[in-house]
């Protein structure tokens, strides 16, 4: 039996571990080494250059544009998505807080809201490219239709609005998923708590802040981490939809796009790896901050 146990464990773990080691762990590990070389893809021709790739990053204006844009996205996309998701999720339950079930049609709404989550970001980007078309797109058409001609613009070609147009797409595509997630979390809150709040005379606003939000805090925290990862990416939408892509003049450049271009158009694989490592540390910092913030709040609560 004991022998069979180890044989089974080996049989269960080794194939997956091998796959993991070859295609996941080894590339991650190699990236750190490559980032210290000037490799251009020519076999056996990688010279160790120390930290010079990183020094170069610090003065690469396009990369700095990308960092700035990803930082903006990191603040805006999770906040906007969580806010909208929470708002709509609590709207779904407004009718039900006095003990009855959620608003009529809530199930149908949730199905529709979830749709964007199902589509490839490529499909979404192609679609929104048409929505943003300055001459006959859906958005300018709608604005002109309701007499707001002054607001119609070249959404993707004006440096001051292009990044916001990109972020709107990311928010649009993620809200549905988090809405359904938050809605499920709210469903899990015991009804008695709401009845008690109602008896205390708390309005819907107070109920949301004092009751709902604290009780779905864990879910919101998970949402922030995942949305942070989404905001640090943005590659597919930018690459397919924006001017240039990444433009106008770097206005929508993201780190992933810079990395992809540097590696697979310019053939500077060492330098591109340095960008990957920089992105890794950004992600790591984000995760640590999110976890520490969560822990601190929990301590304060206790």
């Amino acid at each position: 039996m004991r022998h069979g146990r180890y044989r089974f464990l080996a049989w269960a773990l080794l194939p997956a571990l091998a796959l993991h080691a070859v295609f996941v762990l080894s590339p991650y590990a190699q990236a750190f080494y490559l980032s210290l070389t000037d490799w251009t893809g020519v076999a056996g021709n990688a010279h160790f250059v120390g930290l010079s790739n990183y020094r170069r990053l610090a003065s690469d204006s396009l990369f700095l544009d990308a960092v700035r844009n990803n930082a903006t996205m990191l603040v805006v996309v999770p906040l906007a998505t969580v806010a909208l998701g929470l708002f709509l999720a609590s709207m779904l339950h407004v009718g039900g807080r006095d003990g009855r079930s959620a608003v009529r049609g809530a199930g149908g709404y949730q199905i529709v809201y979830f749709f964007p989550q199902l589509l490839s970001l490529v499909v979404i980007a192609v679609l929104w490219g048409f929505v943003y078309n300055p001459t006959n797109g859906l958005l300018n058409g709608a604005l002109r239709g309701i007499g707001l001609d002054g607001l119609a613009r070249s959404w993707l070609a004006e440096p001051s609005v292009a990044l916001w147009a990109v972020m709107a797409v990311l928010v649009w595509s993620s809200v549905g998923f988090y809405l359904v997630l938050f809605s499920a979390a709210i469903d899990g809150i015991p009804k008695e708590l709401y009845e008690a709040a109602l008896l205390d005379g708390a309005g819907p606003w107070a109920t949301f802040w004092r009751l709902t939000l604290p009780l779905v805090r864990d879910t919101v925290q998970v949402a922030f981490v995942y949305l942070g990862i989404v905001a640090l990416d943005g590659f597919a939408v930018v690459q397919v939809m924006t001017v240039g892509p990444g433009g106008p003049d770097g206005a929508t450049e993201v780190i992933g796009l810079s990395l992809y271009r540097t590696a697979f158009t310019y053939g500077k694989f060492g330098y591109a790896s340095a960008m990957g490592v920089a992105l890794f540390f950004a992600t790591l910092t984000l995760a640590v901050l999110a976890l520490r913030a969560g822990r601190k709040e929990r301590l304060e609560l206790a």
Binding site: M1, F8, F23, Q30, V94, V103, F115, G141
Partner: protein, 273 residues
Amino acid sequence: MRISRGLAHAAMLAWGVVTALPLLWAVLSSFKSDHEILTAPWSIPQHPQWTNWSRAWNEADIGRYFLNSAIVVGGALVLTMLLGALVAYALARYEFPGNRLVYHTFVAAMFFPVFLALVPLFFVVKQLHLLDTYAGLILVYAAYAVPFTVFFLHAFFRTLPSSIAEAAFLDGCGHGAVFFRIMLPMARPGLVAVGIFNFLGLWNQYLLPLVLNSDPDRYVLAQGLAALSVSQGYRSDWSGLFAGLTIAMIPVLVAYVAFQRHIRAGMTTGAVR
């Protein structure tokens, strides 16, 4: 209460319109002629152009891309579920030295940006002579989907009662038999949920095929659509592009509507944990 309920309905309807409108517009446009799309983007198609769909499927190669996606995602999904379930089960139900290490080795990878691995991954796949092959894409897809699968199913296997498994062991069942005949069927709800998530994630994958799969004959759907929308020098085919978008949207939307209970159940499990 009445006012806020009215507000709730208004807000939900507004977001519903914002969500559905671009999708509906794409579907409608797929029935229009190029001329209609260019001159009257808002109108209802005068004469539904069913040929857009057949043209997109055949001439714009959406059919081929669809098949490529089906092969790659199908293969990767089977591999992911098999490996992921085995690892999750082994880690959740067996104590052995290094158990936590193996678990964290898998789960940590979930939080690493794929971009970090992208450059070396390209060369790893190249050295294995797997660039531009179905096998290469299937292996890489599976490798990157296994961590989430392990993470999700690990918790699931832990919650399963051990009495039945113990009874089976007493009956002389081997470890493999217990896994396949008893534990796997018991874990079915979790498997379905994680399977759907993996399907969605893999079906919509873009970055990995973009880098590892440059042969237009093997383009997956997302890649093919991106190429179709930016290709220069070929004949422009607007209506065909919209038909292609619609063809790409339909299977996932249908799958979702059919499985949405499982998805919500899966998300609740994930959220509660």
